[in-house]
C-alpha cells in the first residue's frame, strides 16, 4: 500500500501509511530501518559542502571552536580548563576555559580520542568537519522520540524525516559548520524528549537522564536558558489548567535541583545558574509546584470542610509572605543595572534594546529580525503545516501536546526577534508538521480504506490470513487468497451498495469509535493525499536545493562560474592567512575588524586585538576608532597597541559585498559609542553613506578608506568600485605611516605594515608637520588616541 508513495517521498509517507497497515506485522523493524535511513539522509544531505568545495571548517566561529579542539586534543582536558589564550585580545588575553561553552569541543575531542585509540588516524579537522552532520542525525532521532511520546510513532517518523532536511537546521550544520548549534539542537530536542518521557511515565530514571541531558545542553550552548524557561512555563501551564500530577512533580523538581547543580559546574555558567534573572523563572515555579504539591497532599488528608478553613488561613498568610518576598526580589533585581538580564536576553525580551544600547550585538547580521522570505526559505512548507499541527495537538490536549504547543509559540516569537533563533523554531516546526502530516494521512488513508470497494472488506482479512500463513501452524489452502480476490471482483456492485448502507448506518451510531466519524469523501481524500505528497515532494526539492546551493558555501572560499562553464575559485582569505603565518614573526600583532579575529588566530596563528567573541566593547571600539581616524592618529593608536600589521578586507575589485567598507559604519558607531570624538554624521553626506566624490572629507581621509583604496585607481584608471558601483572619491594618495606588504590575488585581503617611526630631525619635522595637517589637527588634538 505504501510503496508507490514512499517511492516519491521516502520515509515521510511511509511513516503515515505503512506503519498503520503493517504495524502488527513488523512495524517495529520497518520503523527502525526508516530511522536508520533518516539518519543517513540527515548526514548525507549535509555533505554538499564537502563535495562541492572541500572538507574545510566554515565561516568564523567554527574556526575558533576548531582551534580550541586542536588545543584540547593536543594538551588534554586540564590544560584546556586552564587555558589562558594570549593570541587574542592583545594585550588583555582571554581565559578560554572559563568563557567558552565546552560541549562541542569536548564532544569532538572525545570522538577524536576514541577514534584514534582504535588506531583510525582521523585528523582533528576531519572530526570537526563531520561532527555537525553526525549530530544532525542524532537530532532527527531525538525528534522521533519526542514526537513519538506526543503523538505516536507515525508522527515521530514524519517529524524526524522533516527535521533531517529542514533548511534552517542545515544552514547551521552542514559539514564544516563546526558551531555550538550543531550539537545544541540535538541536546535541546533530546532534553525535551526526556522531559516529556518523564512526564508520561513518571519515572525517576528518566528524570535523572533529563537532568544529564540538560547538563549537556548547558555545556553546549547559551540557548539552554530557553529550556530552563520553557519547561517552567509548561509546568505552570499544567498547574493552572489543573493538570497537576505526581508525574509532573517528578519531571520538574529533579530537573531544577540536579540541573542547576550540574549547570553551575560549567565554568562559563558558574554562579550565573542561580544569580541571573534568566534562571529566576525556574526557581519561582519550583516554589509554586511545591506549594501546589503540599496543597494537594493536605487536600488528601483533610476533610473538605477543614480544607476550606485551611485554604483561607494559608492564603491570607501566604499572600503576605509572598508580597514580602516579591518586594525583596524586585529590590534585588532592580539594583543591578541590566535588571539581572544579560544583553542578549534583554534583546530577546525587547527587540529594540540592542539597536539602542549595544551596537555590537546589533551589528551582527544574524542578530537582525528575519524577513518574511527568510521564513519561507528556512522552514518552507512547514510554515503552513504548523497551524494544522497545533490543531492536531488539541485533539486531544494532553500534557505532552500542550508542551509542544508552548514550544512552538515561544520559538515563533524568538525567531521573530533574531534570525539566528530560527534554528530553535525549526525542530518545533518539524515536530508539529510531522504531527499534522501524520494525522492528515491517518484520516485520509482511513477514509480511503474504509470506502474503497476493492480493499474495504478484504484487506484486513487478507492481512490476517497472510499473517496466519506465516505465523501459525494451521495449514490453510494456498488457493484461498486468490479466491477472496476473485470474490471481490465478482460482486463489487453488491458490496459497494452494502458499504454505503453501512456508512449511513454507522455515522450516526454513537457506539462507533471516534475514528469512524472522521470519514471524508473518497475522491476528496485521494486528491488530498496526492496534494500532501506533492507538498512533501516540494519540500524535499526545496531542502535539497537549499542544502546544495544556498548553505553549502564555506564562506572562506568563494567560487564563481565563468561564462564558459569553468569554475573560478577565490581563495584570497586563505592566501592572506597563509602568508601571515609563514612570513611574519610569530609574535607579531595583527589588527583587523573583529570579524576576522577568529580566522586570523586559527589559520594564521597570529595575535589579534579583537575577535568574534565580542566580550570587551571598549577594545573593539578602539579598533573601530583607529579604522575611522586619519592615518597618523590611527598609526598612533595601533602603535600604542604594538600592532605590526593591519589587515583589511576589500571587495571593490571583484565585487565581494561583505567587505570592510560596507561594515565601516558599524566601526564608526561602535568606536563613537566609546570615544565621542568619532561622530557618525561626519562620515555621512546628508545621511547617506557614500565613498564617491560626494563623500565627506572625514570619510575620505580615514584609515579604512585609505587602506582599502590604496593604489586602487591604477587598476582600471578610474577607480570604479564594483561593490558600491561608483567611482571612488579620492583617487590618488600616498600612505605615510603604513606600507603595503601583501595583497591577495583578487585584492580581497590587503595587509599593511606600520612603518617604523621616522628619525626625528630637529627643526625640520616641526615645520613640515604643522604645515601638513593644519585643519584636522586642531579639532581632534588631545583626544585622538584614547590610550594616551
Amino acid at each position: 500500500m505504501a510503496s508507490p508513495e514512499s517511492a516519491v517521498n521516502g520515509p515521510t509517507m511511509t511513516a503515515g501509511a505503512a506503519s498503520k497497515s503493517l504495524r502488527n506485522a513488523f512495524g517495529g523493524v520497518i520503523a527502525f530501518i526508516i530511522l536508520v535511513l533518516i539518519g543517513v539522509l540527515a548526514f548525507s544531505i549535509r555533505l554538499f559542502s564537502v563535495i562541492k568545495y572541500e572538507s574545510v571548517i566554515h565561516e568564523f566561529d567554527p574556526y575558533f571552536n576548531y582551534r580550541v579542539t586542536q588545543f584540547l586534543s593536543k594538551n588534554g582536558i586540564y590544560d584546556f580548563w586552564n587555558w589562558f589564550d594570549d593570541r587574542t585580545w592583545y594585550p588583555l588575553g582571554r581565559v578560554i576555559g572559563g568563557t567558552v561553552y565546552p560541549g562541542l569541543t569536548l564532544t569532538a575531542g572525545t570522538i577524536w580520542k576514541v577514534v584514534n585509540s582504535l588506531n583510525i588516524p582521523l585528523s582533528v579537522e576531519t572530526v570537526c568537519v563531520f561532527t555537525a552532520p553526525i549530530f544532525s542525525a542524532f537530532a532527527s532521532w531525538a525528534a522521533y522520540l519526542l514526537t513519538k511520546e506526543v503523538k505516536g510513532p507515525g508522527a515521530g517518523l514524519t517529524a524526524a524525516a522533516l527535521l533531517a532536511m529542514v533548511p534552517s537546521y542545515i544552514s547551521r550544520s552542514v559539514a564544516g559548520s563546526y558551531d555550538n548549534e550543531a550539537v545544541a539542537i540535538f541536546a535541546l530536542v533530546f532534553t525535551f524528549y526526556l522531559y516529556i518521557k518523564t512526564l508520561n511515565t513518571g519515572s525517576l530514571f528518566y528524570a535523572t537522564l533529563n537532568a544529564l541531558a540538560y547538563f549537556y545542553m548547558v555545556c553546549s550552548w547559551g540557548g539552554y536558558t530557553f529550556i530552563i524557561n520553557l519547561i517552567p512555563m509548561h509546568v505552570l501551564l499544567c498547574i493552572v489548567t489543573g493538570r497537576y500530577s505526581s508525574r509532573l512533580y517528578i519531571a520538574y523538581a529533579p530537573l531544577v535541583v540536579l540541573g542547576t547543580l550540574l549547570a553551575s559546574l560549567v565554568p562559563v555558567v558558574g554562579f550565573n545558574a542561580v544569580l541571573t534573572s534568566e534562571h529566576f523563572a525556574s526557581f519561582l515555579v519550583f516554589i509554586i509546584i511545591h506549594v501546589v504539591a503540599l496543597a494537594y497532599y493536605i487536600k488528601g488528608i483533610l476533610s473538605p470542610k477543614m480544607f476550606k478553613v485551611a485554604v483561607t488561613l494559608v492564603v491570607s498568610v501566604g499572600l503576605a509572605v509572598c508580597c514580602a518576598v516579591i518586594a525583596i526580589l524586585i529590590a534585588v533585581v532592580a539594583s543591578s543595572p541590566t535588571k539581572g538580564w544579560s544583553g542578549r536576553s534583554l534583546t530577546l525580551l525587547d527587540p529594540t534594546y540592542a539597536s539602542k544600547y549595544i551596537p555590537i550585538i546589533a551589528s551582527v547580521s544574524e542578530h537582525q529580525p528575519p524577513t518574511w522570505p527568510s521564513y519561507f526559505m528556512d522552514i518552507n512548507v512547514l510554515a503552513f503545516l504548523v497551524p494544522a499541527g497545533i490543531i492536531a495537538c488539541f485533539m486531544p490536549l494532553t500534557d505532552s501536546s500542550s508542551f509542544v504547543i508552548l514550544y512552538i509559540v515561544t520559538s515563533v516569537y524568538f525567531s521573530g526577534v533574531m534570525v539566528r533563533l530560527m534554528l530553535v523554531l525549526a525542530p518545533a516546526a518539524c515536530i508539529l508538521s510531522g504531527i499534522a502530516l501524520s494525522e492528515a494521512f491517518n484520516v485520509l488513508t482511513r477514509s480511503i480504506k474504509f470506502q474503497l470497494p476493492g480493499i474495504a472488506g478484504n484487506p484486513s482479512i487478507a492481512v490476517r490470513m497472510w499473517r496466519k500463513e506465516n505465523g501459525s501452524s494451521t495449514v490453510v489452502a494456498p488457493n484461498d487468497i486468490p479466491k477472496t480476490e476473485e470474490a471481490a471482483k465478482e460482486k463489487p456492485a453488491k458490496k459497494n451498495r452494502k458499504k454505503e448502507k453501512e456508512n449511513v448506518e454507522k455515522k450516526p451510531t454513537p457506539s462507533k469509535t471516534e475514528k469512524r466519524l472522521l470519514v471524508l469523501p473518497l475522491e476528496a481524500s485521494v486528491i488530498a493525499v496526492l496534494l500532501l505528497v506533492l507538498l512533501g515532494a516540494f519540500y524535499v526539492v526545496h531542502c535539497v536545493w537549499a542544502a546544495a546551493e544556498a548553505y553549502s558555501a564555506p564562506s572562506i572560499v568563494l567560487t564563481s562560474h565563468s561564462n564558459d562553464g569553468g569554475l573560478h575559485v577565490f581563495d584570497d582569505f586563505r592566501e592572506a592567512y597563509s602568508w601571515l603565518s609563514h612570513n611574519t614573526d610569530v609574535d607579531d600583532k595583527v589588527a583587523s575588524w573583529w570579524d576576522y579575529g577568529y580566522q586570523t588566530t586559527a589559520m594564521a596563528n597570529r595575535t589579534v586585538l579583537v575577535d568574534n567573541n565580542t566580550w570587551n566593547n571598549t577594545h573593539i571600539a578602539t579598533v573601530g576608532t583607529a579604522m575611522s581616524s586619519p592615518e597618523k592618529q590611527a598609526w598612533e593608536i595601533f602603535h600604542s597597541l604594538d600592532v605590526k600589521y593591519v589587515l583589511v578586507v576589500f571587495g571593490g575589485v571583484v565585487g565581494y559585498p561583505s567587505d570592510d567598507i560596507n561594515k565601516f559604519l558599524w566601526m564608526v558607531r561602535i568606536g563613537g559609542g566609546v570615544f565621542p570624538h568619532i561622530k557618525e554624521p561626519d562620515y555621512l553626506r546628508d545621511g547617506q553613506y557614500r565613498i564617491d566624490a560626494q563623500a565627506t572629507p572625514t570619510m575620505l581621509n580615514c584609515l579604512m578608506y585609505k587602506l582599502s583604496y590604496f593604489r586602487f585607481v591604477e587598476t582600471d584608471g578610474k577607480g570604479f568600485d564594483r561593490v558600491r558601483r561608483t567611482e571612488i572619491g579620492k583617487k590618488h594618495f600616498k600612505l605615510t605611516h603604513f606600507e603595503e606588504v601583501f595583497t591577495t590575488h583578487h585584492w580581497m585581503v590587503r595587509i599593511y605594515k606600520l612603518k617604523p617611526q621616522r628619525n626625528r630631525i630637529r627643526g625640520k619635522t616641526k615645520k613640515s608637520k604643522s604645515s601638513r595637517s593644519v585643519s584636522s589637527k586642531r579639532d581632534v588634538r588631545g583626544k585622538r588616541n584614547p590610550w594616551h
Binding site: N119, M465, R711, T715
Partner: protein, 616 residues
Amino acid sequence: MGLGLGVMRTIEFLLLIIAILSAPVLSDLILSKVERRIDLTSQIARIASTIKAENDGSSSVSEILLSIPEVQAKNLAYLTAKLVEGKGKAKTSGVALAVEPANPKGMPPALSFYTMILPKPLANGDSVTLDVLAAFTHSLRPFPEKITQADIQLVVFQDTAHYLSPYPVKVQSLTLKLPDARIESYTKLENTKGLGSEIKYGPYENLPPFSYSPVAIHFEANQAFAVARELVREIEISHWGNVQVTEHYDIVHGGAMSKGEFSRLDYQSKPQIRGASAFKHLVAKLPPRAHSIYYRDAIGNISTSHVRGDSKKTEILIEPRYPLFGGWKTAFTIGYGLPLQDFVFESEGKRFLNFSFGSPMHDLVTDSITLKVVLPEGSKYLSVSTPFVVQQEEEIKMSHLDIFGRPVVVLKKANVVPEHNQFFQVYYQFNALAMLMEPFMLITGIFFLFVTCIIYVHVDLSISKSSASYLAKLQWDDVRATVQQIQNTVNQCLSTHEKLEASLRDLSRTGDVQACKAARKATDGLLKELSKELKPLISFLQSSPPAAHILPKVEELVAKERELQERLMAKHSTIVDSYEKKLGGRETENRVASVQQKIVALRQDIEDLMEYIDEI
C-alpha cells in the same frame, strides 16, 4: 644493520689512514689534464671535471685524492667519480668509483679531502681518465642581499680558476656556463674569455700543487631559488594494490631577501619586471599512472594546480598560495597513489620496494629530507639498500586498525639535489595472508557485537528470581502467550468462515448444493474443535490475576466470534435453502440482507478488538 655498516666504515677508515701514512709522497701522481665545466644555470652549482691522472712514481697508486675548500665542502651535496674508458670519440664513462671522505696527514688546513679508490692500482707510467661530478647547493650568494620587488636578483659565485689539487697539474681549463642574462662582472685573469653566457679561464699549464687563484662572477639569476628546508616523504605500501606517497614540503625562496613593499598591482601588471625574482610555481614529475593526486596545506585545499599525464610520467604544476619572493616561506603537502605492481617486486621469497629517493620537484634543493617507508603490518626482516650513504632508523606507525603497528624504515639525509633521485630498495618479507587480518578483525568484531545482542535479548538478566516484579513479569509473559494463542485461534475461525463464504460462491457458480452442504458440515466441525481449543485458554486467563484488565476484551472477542459463527451459519443455510427452493437472486438477497449487515458489523468489531488487544 646501521651499526654494522658503521663498524665496517670505521675499519675502512683505519685501513685508509694506514694506507695513506704508509704511502709514498703524493707527488708521485700528476694530473696531466684537467677540464672543469661549472654549470650555474640553476641554483645548484654543478662542477663536472675530467681529470687525466698519470702515475709518475715508482710504486703503484690505488687512490686519487680530491680536495675541496672547506667553505665549499659544507655545501657539497653530491660527488661521484667515474672511470672513462676508451679514447677519443669512443669514450664511455664506465665504472663508478667509490668516493670516501679522507683525512690525509700533512695537508694544508681549510681543505676537505675525498679519495677515489681505483678498481685496480695504477702502475708506473699508466694513466687513467676520470669524470668527477660535484654539485654544490647554496653556493650562489645573492648580492645585494636585499632587493625590492622591482629589482633583479644578482648572485655571486666564487671559485678558483686553478684546479685546487694536492697534485701538480700540467694542463687545465675552466668553463663557466651562466644563465642567459646580464653578467654584472667577473674576475679577469690572463687567458680569460667571455663568450655570451660562457666564461672561459685557461688553459693554464704546469701549476704546482695547491695553486689557487680566486675568481668571482657576479651575474643575474632570476630562476627559482626554491629550497625545501625540510621535506618529509612518506611512502606507504598497501598490498591491496596501492603505494601511497605523501610529501610535506617546507619551502623558502633562497635568493635575495625581499625588502620594502609588495605591491600586487605592480606584480599583476608587469610580472616580468616587478616580480622577476619571484617564483610562482613548481613542477613535479611524478611516476606514470599516479592517481588521486592532492595538493593542500594546513588550512585546506590549494586550488591552483594542474596535472598533465602521459605514459612516461605524470607532470603536476603546483602554484603556492602566493608568489614567493626572496625569503618568503610556504608549506604544503602533496600526495598521490601509485599502482603497487610498478614499484613493489618479488624476488627469492622477498619483496622489495624500488623507489626514487629525492623529491620529484624540478630543480629543488632539499636541505633535509626524511623518507619514511611504511611497510604493511606483519612485515619482517627489513633491509635497505641505497646508492649513497644515508642515516637509517626504524620505527613503528599505528594506522588503520593496527594491533602491532606497521614497521617503518626512516631514511634521513641532508643537502639533497635532483642528482639524488636514484632508486633505493627496501627488502622485506610479508605473508599475503596478513592482508586479511584487518577485514577478519572487523568481521569478528561485528559478529561478536551481534552475538552479544542476541545473548542480551535471550538471557534472563534479572538479579532476583523470587522478587515480586520478576514473578509478575513471568505471569504477564504467560498471559501474553495465551492471548496470542487465542488470537491465533480466532484467526483460524475467521479463515474457516472464509471457506464457508467460498463454498457459497462455488454454489452460485456450479450449483452443487451437496458439495456446499458438505463444506458447511466440515467447517462446522472445524469450528467446534476450535472453540474447544479456546476453552482452556480462556479459563487460564480467568484464573490469572494480571490478565484481569484484558480479560473482558478477550471474552468479548470470543463471544463476538461465536455470534459471527452463528450468523454465518444462518446465512449459509438460508442461501442454500433458497437456492434449493430456486428463489430469485433478489429475494435471496432480501432474506440475507439483515444477517449480512450484522456479519459485517461483527467483523468490524472483531477487527477492532484484535487491534486493541494487539496494542496491549
